[in-house]
């Protein structure tokens, strides 16, 4: 598929740009942080994340193949970028479109940002993660677009016999001082023959588009129902398929006892047992039903009489998992010193990403070729693994990346593609596979449950050490950098639940993401992955949200022990001026310290991540301590170079809702090796009533700092603020999450799907 889906076909794109990548873009973050603050001891060892973070690694891995990314100008004047990333709601397509509109002086309505098919030649440059997408393109795309503009202008200048410097461009039209004009569309054919000119991107003082509130490119398609997600694709003869999954995580199918009866049900086309297997990561097993409609596939799934075999976590529960994690956690180095230490042990249960679009994929597997449609954060390795699964050369597999209904890390693995490919091959039909929400929550990949043990030591009125020991179920990172070489490295030795390669990635992510904003003297954070054969994957911000939440709670407890106000204490101990600036701003905007009604309290949190600095003050309604609600939130964020303030505010809202959910309301209950929750009525992701009615997001101005990532940094400051407000309002130390009481519910029996509520 060369033409982007959903856009007019047959357009000639003649001016296609491939620009030498200005590689070494990573100067961002090399500035030495100013630690010059009097009393607190500087952080030791110095925080490596200040200098190099996971986003830098993706920027760096992406850079060499940036020249292969295509930007083209059609004869209709439309400018198209084939974006090698997954738009999943985070707004990257709009941000990149704005960069193009800015540099080329075209209307944003004439910019098309399409979703590139999997392109194995891009190697590591087609992974969507680490809040890195806009960071990857910021140093490259403006250069490409400026060069395209210069070439079009040069062609007009040549035609008119004028120096290019005398021409200007307005909305995709090149205009001469004498009034002659030519559209980009009319110039593109001739411009394509010209040599690549030297062109520099605009200085930020010249920006007309970047930095201005800009609605999403697909906004109108969304509100009219025209936006097509994977299950909305009109793939001929694709047959609805659902998969019923075992009674325990990584359980087995022993037998299907009524196969003939289910095959004879109305609308049923075929029933396929999906066995273990799969390249790089294990395939989800279960029993798939293909039918004429999803309703019939679901009915038939429910009617299956299956004997399930135990999974790899038989008997495990939240209690047994937490006990195992506590036993595995490394000891703290310093002994408890009574009044001189602040200690805490924190429990975070498993969480589900629960994007509103369930895991799904369409696969057409033939004897000699295959085609995939799915929302994939790592489409190259998905293509490569599918080729291996189907016994096809990689060149015979096409993978179309479909913008998805959320991702949050969940689509770093291609589980539904694996299953759909198997079923398509087994049935000889096009498989349109969709998981049921219940199994999507229970069986597919989760954020690992984890225990954090923290001890801060105070001496002579100063914090001299901060230790954090984290034990978590091992995080599956075998997607690598999104293609097979790094993925296979992560999967070695093959078939083991915790591969050494995976451990390497896991520790790399931890060390390049989790940092501390405070001068807490000798400070260590150590991750101990604990091997459970379980399906996990990075969840938005990976280890950061729980790690920084615990640190923000302990920070308030240190301040209390020292008799200091939480904001004043942080101003004293924050290492970096930009962190202090956002805190100062939020304290003023939220009127920190104002009188609160009985049962209410303010709470504060500060955070830095992906080169962004953010602080949050919330007002918590804790009149009923078992059902706390956030009444107001004030968030200040410094992203260095803001591209789209609309998208940045949306990511802050999303981060706030993550905090409301993960801190107060949402966690999974494991019982006999299976999460009990199976729907949004049981797993309490925030709804309208949970989201504060008063939310203010303040964006710090662009003063020339490097661009930050935005998908993940919005979670930790509100998380800390909510937990700290809870402690101040209730007097209870927040230790076990979620903090609110969980309503009892009747779980769907293990290994079964709920009945439709008809």
């Amino acid at each position: 598929m060369n033409e982007p889906r959903g856009f007019s076909t047959g357009r000639r794109k003649l001016l296609t740009y491939a620009v030498s990548s200005p590689v070494m873009t990573i100067a961002a973050g090399l500035a030495v942080p100013s630690n010059a603050h009097a009393v607190p001891l500087p952080l030791m060892p110095a925080d490596t994340v200040d200098y190099y973070d996971v986003g830098d690694s993706i920027v760096q891995f992406s850079a060499p193949t940036m020249p292969l990314v295509k930007l083209s100008v059609g004869t209709d004047g439309k400018v198209t970028l084939e974006m090698p990333r997954l738009e999943n709601g985070q707004g990257i397509a709009t941000a990149l479109g704005m960069m193009i509109a800015e540099e080329m002086d075209v209307a944003l309505s004439d910019v098309v940002v399409s979703s590139a098919d999997a392109q194995p030649q891009l190697l590591y440059n087609q992974i969507t993660g680490g809040s890195s997408s806009v960071r990857c393109f910021d140093p490259v795309l403006p250069v490409m677009a400026a060069a395209a503009r210069a070439r079009l202008v040069a062609h007009a200048a040549q035609q008119w016999g004028l120096p290019p410097s005398t021409l200007r461009v307005e909305a995709g039209v090149v205009i001469a001082p004498d009034g002659r004009s030519a559209t980009y569309g009319s110039l593109t054919v001739g411009a394509a023959t010209l040599p690549l000119p030297n062109a520099l991107p605009k200085h930020p003082s010249q920006y007309n588009v970047i930095g201005k509130f800009t609605p999403r490119l697909d906004a109108r398609d969304i509100v009219t129902g025209r936006k097509k997600f994977t299950m909305d694709q009109a793939v001929p003869n694709a047959k609805p398929t659902m998969l019923r999954m075992p009674s325990q995580i990584r359980g087995k199918v022993v037998s299907v006892n009524n196969l003939a009866a289910v095959k004879a049900m109305p609308g049923v086309i075929d029933v396929v047992v999906v066995p273990p297997g799969g390249a790089i990561v294990p395939r989800q097993v279960g029993v798939a039903v293909m039918a004429e409609t999803f309703g019939q596939a679901w009915d038939a799934c429910r009617a299956l009489d299956i004997t399930w075999g135990d999974g790899t976590n038989k008997g495990q529960s939240n209690a047994s998992i937490f006990a195992a994690l506590k036993a595995a956690n490394l000891p703290l180095a310093l002994p408890p010193l009574g009044a001189l230490t602040v200690d805490g042990e924190f429990e975070f249960p498993a969480a589900t990403h629960c994007p509103l679009e369930v895991e799904c994929a369409i696969v057409d597997a033939r004897a000699d070729r295959a085609e995939i449609w799915a929302g994939m954060q790592t489409p190259i390795v998905a293509l490569q693994a599918t080729a291996a699964d189907l016994g096809l050369p990689e060149s015979k597999v096409k993978a179309h990346v479909i913008p998805s209904g959320g991702a949050f890390g969940r689509r770093l693995f291609w589980d539904p593609v694996q299953v759909a490919a198997y079923v398509s091959k087994a049935t000889g039909r096009v498989c349109k596979l969709m998981y049921h929400r219940s199994d999507d929550i229970r069986h597919t990949r989760l954020r690992p449950p984890q225990v954090h043990k923290v001890r801060a030591t105070l001496l002579l009125g100063s914090v001299v050490s901060y230790e954090q020991r984290i034990a978590a179920i091992r995080l599956d990172a075998r997607h690598g950098y999104g293609e097979k070489f790094t993925a296979i490295t992560g999967a070695l030795p093959e078939g083991t639940p915790q591969a050494l390669g995976n451990l390497g990635y896991e520790q790399f992510f931890f060390k390049t993401m989790v940092s501390s904003p405070y001068n807490y003297g000798v400070s260590t954070k150590v991750l101990t992955p604990v091997t459970f054969d379980w399906n996990t994957v990075s969840y938005r911000s990976v280890h950061i949200q729980p790690a920084r939440l615990a640190e923000e709670i302990i920070t308030d407890e240190i301040a209390k022990k020292m008799g200091k106000d939480p904001v004043a204490f942080r101003m004293e101990y924050l290492r970096l001026p930009r962190a202090r600036a956002v805190l100062q701003r939020v304290a003023a905007a939220a009127q920190w310290g104002k009188a609160m009604p009985v049962g209410f309290a303010q709470g504060v949190g500060v955070h830095m991540e992906s080169r962004a600095f953010t602080a949050c003050v919330v007002e918590l309604d804790a009149r009923d301590p078992a059902h706390c609600k956030v009444a107001r939130a004030t968030i200040v964020i410094d992203v260095g170079k803001p591209i789209n303030p609309s998208g940045i505010e949306q990511q802050c809202h999303g981060g706030l809702a993550e905090a409301v959910s993960l801190v107060l309301n949402a966690g999974l209950t494991i019982k006999d090796g299976l999460p009990q929750e199976g729907s949004y009525s049981q797993y309490h992701w925030a709804r309208m009533k949970d989201f504060p009615k008063n939310v203010e997001v303040i964006l710090m101005p662009n003063v020339g700092d490097p661009i930050a990532g935005m998908g993940e940094p919005g979670m930790a400051a509100p998380s800390g603020a909510i937990a700290n407000a809870y402690a101040r309002a209730t007097g209870i130390k927040p230790r076990k999450f979620p903090l609110n009481a969980q309503a009892p519910f009747v779980a769907t029996p293990p290994g079964q799907l709920p009945a439709p509520t008809l």
Binding site: A219, V223, T293, S404, R687, F691, T757, L758
Partner: protein, 152 residues
């Protein structure tokens, strides 16, 4: 299989389907109308919300037999040609959507609320249970209030 006749977005349709098939699958799998989304199937997430005779229903939990002779409106049928409904217009002006997956259901729930009242309270907006995993709730609330002022 019995036949059921009703209108969808102003067009008369007749479908052969079991009486207890959910309207969602009739719309999506038999009629190819993909605006209403599956999110849970058990009336929890509300992503499949459409209007039946002007009232919001979750189509995953509505039998096709229940809409015999009725008027079904999906997100695709909300605008009048190129003229958007005030709720859609407010959604654009406030840039409400993020991924967009829940938005057809959110918009139809908002239309239902504004059909019932031109002056929605925060409590009435809180009663909308449609899940938005991206959590654009603040803008949904603001857009509902903005649209209320432009309702015909």
């Amino acid at each position: 299989m019995p036949a059921y006749s009703f209108t969808v977005n102003g067009n008369a349709v007749t479908v052969n389907a079991p009486a207890d098939m959910a309207l969602l699958w009739v719309l999506r799998d038999k009629l190819g109308i993909t605006g209403p989304k599956y999110g849970c199937g058990v009336n929890a997430c509300k992503a499949c919300t459409c209007l039946v005779d002007g009232h919001a229903v979750t189509t995953c939990s509505t039998k096709v037999s229940a809409v015999q002779g009725k008027e079904v409106t999906t997100i695709e049928g909300l605008a009048n040609g190129d003229t958007l409904h005030p709720v859609q217009q407010a959604w654009l002006e406030l840039d409400v959507a993020q991924c967009g997956f829940c938005q057809p259901g959110q918009i139809m729930a908002a239309v239902d609320l504004l059909n019932r009242t031109r002056n929605p309270t925060d409590a009435e907006i809180d009663a909308i249970e449609n899940v938005c995993r991206c959590a654009t709730y603040g803008r949904i609330r603001a857009a509902i209030k903005a649209a209320a002022e432009n309702m015909p």
